[in-house]
């Protein structure tokens, strides 16, 4: 059972076609590393590696259902919901979900925090993301820093920051210069430049604003 060029190429072809490669046992660590390297190379191809709209929908549904079930019936039996099961695909996530539901009492929210409804987060940093001069007046510019995907909007010497994550299903928003608003590539939600949602079938939350400051001509964002 030696690794050989044909077998490796089959694996490579699967990756290039975005198919799941066959899980054949490998003879040695070199063979494994060759495949891990192939995966890394595949992901560097332009356009690769963003989650699909369809996947985000399924995930959102399942996560939402898990969260709801947990808050509705804290003692519920280990019964994976139908929708949760749809998520699982070929691997055994159903078992994981059952386990999650089984221990819900452990993960219930801490009462003292619920009363106040806000959490204080420590350990953030200010990170420079752009020079002020790079920002055009009034036109949102996308940036990414730490866990934050956002837009910077300059107004004179002031810069506002807005989250770029759609409050519908967490796709990353685009800014349309033509229509002067944020648009979601997944389900068409739109937001004004102040973050307010517009014209969507179900009511969405506005885009959260981010803390931004200008320091010596550098725009800095508070990130974690």
């Amino acid at each position: 059972m030696n690794d050989d060029p044909e077998q490796l190429d089959k694996h490579v072809e699967d990756l290039l076609q975005d198919r799941r490669p066959e899980r054949t046992p490998l003879p040695d660590e070199d063979a494994l590393r060759a495949r891990q390297t192939a995966a890394m190379l595949r992901a560097a191809k332009p356009g690769a590696g963003l989650p699909s709209k369809d996947f985000l929908e399924r995930m959102q549904g399942s996560i939402q259902e898990l969260v709801e079930e947990r808050s509705a019936q804290p003692q519920s039996a280990a019964r994976p919901s139908r929708r949760s099961l749809l998520l699982t695909g070929a691997t055994g996530i159903a078992a994981g979900i059952a386990a999650v539901l089984g221990i819900q009492q452990v993960v219930k929210a801490e009462p003292k925090k619920v009363a106040q409804g806000a959490l204080v987060v420590g350990n953030g940093n200010w990170k420079p993301v752009k020079a002020l001069v790079e920002l055009p007046e009034g036109t949102p510019i996308a940036f990414r820093s730490g866990a934050i995907e956002g837009f910077l909007i300059r107004q004179g010497q002031q810069v506002r920051g807005l989250s770029a994550i759609c409050t519908h299903m967490a796709c990353i928003l685009n800014y349309s210069k033509f229509r002067d608003r944020f648009e979601c590539p997944c389900h068409g939600a739109t937001f004004e430049k102040d973050g307010q949602p517009t014209n969507y079938a179900s009511p969405l939350s506005p885009l959260p604003s981010l803390q931004v400051k200008v320091e010596k001509g550098q725009v800095e964002v508070f990130t974690v």
């Binding site: 050989d4 060029p5 490796l8 490579v12 699967d14 975005d18 198919r19 799941r20 490669p21 046992p25 063979a31 494994l32 590393r33 060759a34 495949r35 891990q36 390297t37 192939a38 890394m40 190379l41 595949r42 992901a43 191809k45 332009p46 690769a48 989650p51 699909s52 996947f55 995930m59 959102q60 996560i63 947990r70 808050s71 070929a90 691997t91 994981g96 999650v100 993960v107 929210a109 801490e110 925090k113 619920v114 806000a118 959490l119 987060v121 866990a147 934050i148 995907e149 989250s163 409050t167 299903m169 967490a170 009511p203 969405l204 939350s205 959260p208 981010l210 803390q211 508070f222 974690v224």
Partner: protein, 186 residues
């Protein structure tokens, strides 16, 4: 209404998690939804960068969030949450590779444990660039053509004036060499 409840949790001005507009919703719910929404894309990209195909990336991402919800507390800080999610992603990937090869299937890059920074596609590209730079010219060429430009074996063979069999052999050697380079402690 329901939609609003679901999506209300948010990053506030200082990276805090702010309450929902509807304060009667249980807090743990906000936190989970928020944790999911703000990290799903980054975790997916991180995993995709290591398995290189959509079906596996989707399954493993789902597994990570299901496992992470399992251990989630509502009073966790954002850095803790992120480092937790990346740790779960790492062990999930290690289990995944174990299906191919039982021993020594740990992820090669253990730096995540120390530095749970989100992995971004630009960074994936950079990792690849520095890896390719360590390879001899012919190895680099075949990997660039196949992976970054998406050439078929036949097209690669034409481009390099080789037979298709030789392209596969070259690709085999290049990937094995690159794999060893990555495994080498730096």
């Amino acid at each position: 209404m329901r939609e609003e409840e679901r999506t209300g949790a948010a990053i506030a001005s200082s990276g805090k998690i702010v309450p929902l507009p509807h304060a009667d919703a249980p807090h743990g719910q906000d936190h989970l939804t928020w944790a999911y929404q703000t990290h799903v894309t980054a975790i997916y990209q991180y995993i995709y960068g290591r398995v290189g195909n959509r079906p596996d990336a989707e399954d493993l991402t789902a597994q990570v969030f299901v496992k992470a919800i399992n251990g989630m507390r509502s009073d966790v800080s954002v850095p803790e949450l992120r480092s937790w999610l990346y740790r779960v992603a790492q062990t999930t990937l290690a289990d995944h590779w174990r299906e191919y090869y039982a021993e020594g299937a740990g992820e090669l890059e253990d730096d995540v444990t120390q530095q749970p920074a989100p992995r971004e596609n630009p960074e994936a590209v950079q990792r690849v660039d520095s890896l390719l730079a360590t390879l001899p010219e012919s190895y680099r060429r075949v990997l660039e053509l196949r992976f970054l430009r998406g050439y078929s074996v036949r097209e690669t063979a034409q481009e390099l004036s080789l037979s298709e069999t030789n392209v596969k052999v070259l690709q085999f050697r290049a990937l094995n060499r690159a794999g060893r380079e990555r495994g080498r402690p730096s």
